[in-house]
Amino acid sequence: MPGDDGLLAVRAAEGDEDAFEVLVRRHAPGLLRLAASMLGSPAEAEDAVQDAFVSAWRRLPEFRGQSAFGTWMHRIVVNRCLNMLRSRRPVADLDSVPEPQAPDHAVSPSRAAESHAAAVALGRSLAELSPEQRVCWVLRELEGQSYETIAETVGISPEAARGRVFRARRCLTEAMTAWR
């Protein structure tokens, strides 16, 4: 992580929008990837990250550098995604999940088609997790975070975070096993 995030955040807090632009450009790709994993939809991920940055710009004057700017943004994005997932419930937004292609591996057992179908199956089963399970699982599996960090971000106990990750893994392994 570039070491001058702190300087740029201070400048942005004092109204330097150019400094903020550098931070947005620097952190947007990672945050987009994170949001897309949690939401399963690139378009929604863009909305979530855009809202998160705008909210960060408004809140920067109160941001006193208690944590690194990247950590702070990460947390804003996770909470934004959590809220978006919650507002989707209980009707799972299946439109946001790509349609699985016809299981054509009987015709052409190409590895690419196979792994694409696996990705689709994974996407479908992710959409069936609860918002908390999905977010905790993404933070653990894709971001490699500790249960303590996940717990702090999501606002639950580390044991609860551990439980959510486990349950997500059970649902996903069962779905993937069934798919195979």
Binding site: E14, V22, R33, A118, G123, S157, E159, R162, G163, F166
Partner: protein, 236 residues
């Protein structure tokens, strides 16, 4: 790890196969007697860092090496891992943040925080500059000194009078500077250039410039492990 009342699963400290481990409704006891959660925790290395020790768990627990039930459970988890990696979120570099950055900055520019008005020129003139604009110019002037990075820059009327008062201002600038035995000279040079920019470029009468060195960076390439710095190459 102590299990508190809202514990949903045994922690990694609960020994594998320990008869006392409480089986949660979501957990599953494998045919060999192990809990699925324990086997998966062990697969993760038992530590809280999923990247360490992943493949060393069987060394510590011979059962995991030989038990077919545990092996099947681990294989399930590994297959999930394969599917996750293949599905990918894409690499960070595949995300084009350009359009997003533009949209964010469009909103930001509608919600600028220009700060207080500061007097430009002579007392009898009616010319003002906003603090945020002036601060940008003064930070840029400070950064003309090689290796110097400017952070907070606050500009206040030197004498607190009626608001907004005309008259000289006081500048408080925070800088990060490269490590040098002549810090005092460096700070003096920063002060000189900031004052020069205020006088010449802005026409902002300055009473005093406080330069605060908030951090010192190692010269580039000195010690790659030093968390404090060598980041000068990352300047935007």
């Amino acid at each position: 790890m102590a299990m508190n009342s809202d514990a949903e699963l045994p922690g990694p400290g609960a020994g594998p196969g320990s008869g006392g481990a409480e089986e949660s409704a979501d957990d599953e006891r494998l045919a060999c007697g192990r809990l699925l959660s324990e086997v998966w925790e062990a697969r993760e290395g038992g530590s809280d860092d999923p990247d360490t020790d992943r493949d060393r768990a069987p060394d510590r627990d011979p059962h995991l090496r030989t038990c077919p039930h545990c092996a099947a459970a681990v294989r399930q988890l590994d297959l999930l891992g394969v599917a996750v990696r293949e599905a990918g979120g894409g690499r960070e570099s595949e995300w084009d943040a350009g359009a997003l950055t533009e949209r964010v900055m469009d909103v930001v520019r509608l919600e600028l925080r220009p700060g207080r008005p500061l007097p430009l020129g002579e007392r009898e003139e009616d010319l003002w500059v906003r603090e945020a604009m002036a601060a940008k110019a003064l930070r840029a002037a400070a950064e003309t000194v090689p290796g110097v990075r400017a952070g907070s820059c606050r500009i206040r009327p030197a004498e607190s009078g009626g608001s907004p008062s005309r008259g000289p201002v006081r500048v408080r600038l925070e800088v990060v500077v490269p490590l040098t035995p002549r810090l005092r000279d460096l700070a003096e040079e920063v002060r000189r250039r900031v004052r020069g920019a205020a006088d010449d470029a802005l026409g902002l009468p300055v009473d005093h410039v406080d330069v605060h060195i908030t951090d010192v960076t190692e010269p580039a390439g000195a010690d790659p492990d030093d968390p404090a710095g060598t980041e000068e190459g990352n300047q935007p």
